[in-house]
Amino acid sequence: MPRPGFVLDVDKSTPPTLFWHGEGFRLEKLPPDRSRVIYAPEPHEAIDDIDGAIRASLLNPIDMDPLPSLLFPGMKLTIAFDDVSLPLPKMRRPDLRQRIIEQVLTMAADAGVDDVQLVAALALHRRMHEFELRHALGDRVYDAFEPRGLLTQHDAEDPDNLAFLGTTDQGEEIEINKRAAESDLLIYVNINLVAMDGGWKSTAVGLASYRSLRHHHNPTTMEASHSFMDQHASELHKSTWRMGKVMRDHGPKVFQIETTLNTDTFPQPFEFLSKREWEWNAKDRALFLGTAKSVAKLPARTARKIFQGIEAPHQMTSIQCGEVEAVHKVTTQNVYDQQLVEVEGQTDILTMGIPYICPYNVHSIMNPILVMCTGLGYFFNLYRGKPLVREGGVVILTHPTTNEFHPVHHPSYIDFFEEVLADTRDPHVMSQKWEKQYAEDDWYRHLYRTTNAYHGVHPFYMWYWGSHAMKHVGKVIIVGGDAATVRKLGFTPASTMNDAFEIASDVVGRSPTITHIKTPPLMIADVK
């Protein structure tokens, strides 16, 4: 029986807590009697007969007819799917997308459908490498569709492949992938790792262009999203839902397939990472020491390769398909069931260990911008109700934060770090002064369209992701990071956790209360 999430009040007998530190770990002792650690709920049981569950769901959608009856010969069918930013870490083969798409294609073949295209819903993310597509879709689907040119990756800068659908009543423009817009049926295959994804976000954001995205991917909207995990308190989602309404009226018929995963995040040798420290047995401790020490000695490149190669054993816990909003309601509830932890009140300090991976550096390097985004954008926002840290409090992150950027995946990030951050760190100022030229730079556009680079404007979105946190919090400290790089981000570097508390005392006094959110595995703090 999986145990629910748990808030531990740290006392003198509490062993040190494991903090992620990029490709490595630290054990930190939090001050007793005023610290607490939030542990994620244990993973729920995965479904036994996954293929059977998929089939049953496709034949019994919510608020829509069974899929076979929606398919007819001569129709234009498009199947869009989540890109490489999900799930994290990557699943073991066969990926859920492979399973679902193979069954959908079998039904399509049975119904005599010829015109099928698969589209990776990248929005402004980078194109996927071949091995990543093969991992997500399986070799059969890849080898059948790619050579025919029927497997495409959404190109948000291709004027010939974008369709303008209309504007919402607030003037937000919706422009999406043309093939998807002109299909008789658009099937979306989603993996809902976090409550933020799914619903209209899949199509209205995943298949959109800069013209659409700038209406909600901006500092004002993000500052007003409290948090991204709570659809009803998030301006981002309200905007996306408004766009969904326009899509419903003027866009293609959408058959949404959403799945949830349990939080069984770490395979055998790394299992101890999700275990509570006082439950580590001798084997776990030995593995921890062995891993921590050997990884510390490896060159960064090798360590990254090892960690990025981790395949998580997480598996499907639910699948629902049919009408977008009805499906998403069920999905969100399932995600909450797995991930919610009840937490009482806020504290002065929030600590978090930043792991080696976030949605934007899969098979890549976590550059300083992404460190900030993972900490202040994602982990800070893993709450419902109120943030875990009080207004004006302090956030402490642990990550090596080296001045390293992946030149192929993140070219515009380097320039953003050198040019934009040297000028301003204020999201509003930079969106006025710098965003346009990065969004329209010809070279970034060329790299986004033809190689595997994130769009020129993407680093800005990463920065905006943390705008609510930056406004809310009094100080941000990074422990164990490269000092010059941390300062360039506008944060304060510290060598040890104690030094960090010392620095924080300027803002929160000498005896602050501390919360540590021990994630991954993922969770959402339901803060009362």
Binding site: I414, D415, E418, E419, Q437, D441, D442, W443, H446
Partner: protein
Amino acid sequence: MKALRVSRSVRKLGMARIASAISPVTATKLGPLEFTSVDQPELPGPGWHRVHTRLAGICGSDLSLVEGHASLYFEDWVSFPFVPGHEVVGELDDGTRVILEPVLGHEARGFAPPFEGAAPGDGDDYAHLATGPLEPGIQTGFCCSTGGGWAPEFVAHESQLHRIDDDMPDERAVLVEPFAGGIHAALLAAPVVAARQDPTHPAIVAVLGAGTMGLAAIAGLRRYVPDVRIIAGARYPHQRQLAKEFGADVVVAPDELTRAVRRAAGCHMVGDHLSSGAHVTIDAVGTSATVADCLRITRPRGRVVLLGMPADVTLDLTGLWHRETELKGAYTYGTEHLPDGRTVRTFDLAIETANELRAERLLSATYPLSDHVDAIAHAATAGRRGAVKIAFDMRKEDT
């Protein structure tokens, strides 16, 4: 008198070169420069004056000479043994203070000037530098007949002297000669800037290196070349600070310069070359690596000005001919034709600039002649030690 003198000793030059790999101190001690008794130079004739040195700067070319890195090219253009030192502010017998324009021009060397009002550096025939009544010597500081700045006194021709009045301090005056060199290089950018394809946007001029010469080039660009966006690459924080103050628009560390130029030009990067780039790039460093960098970031049919003095370099010139890039040498100064139509001597522009920008800020330390080992070591490691210009101070206490 006691002065610093360079004698022709192949052995010593060789040892200095090898020792320069260890440290500048070792190189100086083993090298051809020595603090010794030298005879006072005789006045070669009418029009010549005796100058009593007040401050004499140490320049990059002096350093390469002392460390044995100087090119063999100059063998025939200098006469050993000579007293180095060409960045000088001194005092005439009658007490007037003067700045030296060290280039030995036609008049000084006993020849007719090439045209009316020519400055010492002008003309397209250099024969006068190696022939004539004086021993061969391109400048005061490389000629055994004239003496040089690293001595208590030397001789100079009227055409080489610029008299200054009391409100220009010595410390500022000693920077005038290097400033003139930088400004001259900056003005070599003007024709290309003026002739550019798109006059509606400012021209992009990149400057590599922010030592004295680089800073002077930046100042010259900002003051005398209209419509430029100056992007400077400087290694040390104090240099970056000064570059910004002297008028650079964007100042970055050297390894970020390529990206900064790309951003300013808004072009692509093809391999490690920019598809377009700066209109003019001024190399104020002068190594194989920096010249190669300049060729990479200059746009097709742009100009690379070699202000730093590279000697033997190995370069792949394919990019140069493919992009029809111009490689232009820059040497000292002379008469300039400004974009606004004026015709002036570079030295006068340098004096103007030195006064306005308070050039004495760049003089970081002075040493007596007897302390030449420390002085040269300091000059050789100036950047790392937060310094820009080092000079010898020969003033008596009472002045």
